[in-house]
Symmetry: T
Subunit: 68 residues, 12 copies
């Protein structure tokens, strides 16, 4: 790692698991950001419906290299 990096905060969701929510967040973010290098988990929450987990919601910060 060298140069300058920017961090972006996104929330990914998944009905399946925490890890799927993270994967979804990263893959969606990749549609508008380039050179993503790492992520940090910031918060883990979820929505409950009918007495069951309806959705995992994971907030991550994504670090990506600024292009010059």
């Amino acid at each position: 790692m060298s140069g300058i990096y920017k961090k972006l905060e996104v929330v990914g969701t998944s009905p399946v698991s925490l890890s799927e929510a993270i994967k979804n967040a990263v893959s969606e973010a990749g549609k508008s950001v380039r050179h993503m290098a790492w992520f940090e988990v910031v918060e883990q929450r979820g929505r409950i419906s009918d007495d069951a987990v309806a959705e995992f919601q994971v907030t991550i910060r994504i670090g990506f290299k600024l292009e010059r």
Copy 2:
């Protein structure tokens, strides 16, 4: 969301994964609490036995609407 909500802190366990521990906590809590709306992950720990993860233990706070 509107009205007043209460939060309950529970620990769910699972030998399989963090996400299963959360699902178990929510489904068990549903046996005594109604109108559960969301959860927040507070702590993630686990028990080790014979050099392997024997159990994931996830503490979550569950928010549910107070009925009137």
Copy 3:
């Protein structure tokens, strides 16, 4: 639990999930530490490559009993 315990901080990795990264960390640590009793999740991060999660990296603290 009684007696004295020591804590060790390790980072486990997995391309699959957060829970797999924890299992890998525990099983690797078991090669050099004995009497492991519990773990606490400290940090969850990961590496991104080609717009996808390449690796989950979970830092855990492992508590083990000191032998006398």
Copy 4:
């Protein structure tokens, strides 16, 4: 203050202000809990609708004395 106290975590809401959300939480909690003595603000969030704050949501912990 002496004796033993219990803490309850509730979320109050108000379209007006943070302070109103707290007042609502306390007055609603008073319908089912007695001997409330103090509160601590834990989290402040809110819902946005049509580019404006639709609702302040304040999580407080309420301390109340256990009766014997």
Copy 5:
């Protein structure tokens, strides 16, 4: 809530109150961001002038849905 969300960090100001500073932040952010759904209070500070509060400064994180 479902799909992917992004978070934006802004500081709103008001000479009147903490709640007004939040409302100002949200309404200003609405000029350049669409689909705002919720906010989280991150920090509360202010400027003092002539021995009185001249300005409340509240940092909030705004969550908004990414359009596809």
Copy 6:
């Protein structure tokens, strides 16, 4: 530890020491809760009167197993 656990937050007091305040909190909580398994210290405060500590006040979270 296995199954599901609930956490309760209580404040114990003692004019003698932090540890006595915890013991008092646990023994009082035992009058209305069953299957208590562990506690976690959350906050340590106290009241001062006549330039001396009049009372230690310790907030603990008590984990107890839900019976089925």
Copy 7:
């Protein structure tokens, strides 16, 4: 801002709102401190009496310039 600053921690109270409690704290502190420049909110609590908020209590840190 330049030179050296000192921080003072005070608790302001108000029966009306969080913001009033801050204003009271600042105006009272101004009776004994000069060159106050900013404040940071540290803690928000309050007293409950007769099932209603009797008093908001806000702890702030006040930064003021040291005169030479």
Copy 8:
């Protein structure tokens, strides 16, 4: 509690226990501050000498009422 309060941060020490260190801090602070009302434990550390605890060092914040 009403009016305005100031907080003071002091470190008390004791070779005996955490609670003694707090008592010492409060009683020493009472020599220069009046109207002390409560304390909050901020940090607990200590010095080790000859493989034994030589001294407990407890940092507390003391709240006291400003006289007018």
Copy 9:
């Protein structure tokens, strides 16, 4: 300070010192952001290579005024 501000999170790097890493982050960010007013240090890390610090990595949040 008045009006509305936005915060941006960037990571600056330097082989020399923490302070150089911050200066680099600010000067790079200035190529795409205008009206930068202040920064807050969020995290300090670094890369090690050949048993020496190869690079300091400092994450800062930069506050800048939104132009209208």
Copy 10:
């Protein structure tokens, strides 16, 4: 203090008090580590049995000087 120090994380236990748990941790650690200089309290928990505190468990970090 000068030179380089290492920190070790241990959990001490005692049926009597928090302070005893710390003393036990330090004296046990002294059997395998030399030049211990200070400790920092990291976490305070305990085990409950038969509605009473069965054991205080205090996690401390011990700083000791590396010998050359």
Copy 11:
């Protein structure tokens, strides 16, 4: 370290580096406080002007022994 200590919170500034800001804070504080023994870094911020760091601002807590 033994006896009782007080902590003072000050903000030092420097156009050069974080470390210079700390040195300035300590040397300025020494003009009005005696027996300073240690400092703890609490916050690191700074002012930006013309797209460059104009000033590092470091908040430290200074511990000093109370004389009797």
Copy 12:
């Protein structure tokens, strides 16, 4: 990064600057640990003597790869 990593907590010191203290910690740790890959700053403190900073003390966690 892949495989398993361990973290070590050390305190480096320097009379010159925070960054020098980190460099010293890393280079000293390299005498007994191999494959060091990164560090994280955990705490920044220092000793004061004669109204000046006598020594910067920086606690870092060093991550290193376990060899197999």
